[in-house]
């Protein structure tokens, strides 16, 4: 799995963290989305975060087939 964050665009609204089915994401003290501690390998690349992010600040990097 690979999540790409564009932190300069992230406003820390928390929509990605709330709807993440695996609770991989969190919002840091600096008000930016990030991967929660210990969840580095839990992302299932479902794309819910990428789909709803209003700031185009999180992307799922899919491996080329």
């Amino acid at each position: 799995m690979a999540l790409k964050f564009v932190t300069s665009r992230c406003k820390g609204c928390g929509i990605c963290a709330y709807f993440c089915p695996k609770k991989v994401l969190t919002v840091t003290e600096l008000n930016k989305a990030a991967i929660a501690e210990g969840k580095e390998n839990d992302c299932i690349s479902c794309g819910q975060c990428e789909m709803r992010c209003p700031d185009y600040a999180i992307f799922v990097e899919r491996e080329a087939k």
């Binding site: 406003k11 609204c13 928390g14 929509i15 709807f19 709803r52 209003p54 700031d55 185009y56």
Partner: protein
Amino acid sequence: MKEALVEKYFRKGHLPHLWCPGCGNGTVLGAIVTAIDNLKLDKNDVALISGIGCSSRSSGYVDFNTANTVHGRALPIATGLKMARPDMNVVVASGDGDCSAIGGNHLIHAARRNIDLTLVVFNNSIYGMTGGQYSPLTPPGFKATTAPYLTIEPMFDILELARAAGATFTARATSYHVPLLTSLIEKGIAHKGFSIIEAVTGCPTNFGRQNKIAAPALMMAWQRDHGVMKAKWDKMTPEEREGKFPIGLLSERNDVTEYTKAYDEIIKRAQGAEA
């Protein structure tokens, strides 16, 4: 929205956009862009016309033929463009106040003519940019700057209004239901006639704070819990429908002549063709 689409369609120098943290407008704009990409339209053949308001800033961020026009008057300007360039796919982005109050008259007449425009109404139930005054789409029983003791006015069902006025494609989705919203916008652009897609979206700053649902994710969860797909909605009793709203394709008809086509005939007749 996928990163490749941001690269392809956005004026990236203008990002981050000015919308508040958690504002659903970005998600709705993402759905518009994804729909246009899915239809494989050349971006030079697409125009995005907007009025005034938070949602109307959307036209500034994307690399189509764009115009951020005057308050409530996105539809007349889009009508002019469509008459001059009937080959162009004209999408209109308008807010709930822009479209139903200031531009309410333009909405019903664009719908009446059945001109081939695709109107996406960003319905956040409030005038966000000016500080949270209630709009014709604010439901009764909510607080607004202009209704500190709760709103008492019934709201428009903007899709019923447009359908009654003559719109031939009406649909609703939310910023939570992104794939549905994208596919409805896609169908609306492909539809030859006046299409209106209401995108229910959240305003955490000016609607949420006053009504104690300021967390953006909770506003989206509200949309998830209150939007009901039309097939299920049709089977529900009035009691079950209380507080909920239908989503999906609500009406479509293809038996009405589209306005630019009818006008083409007038041009031919004026030039001496047999009637």
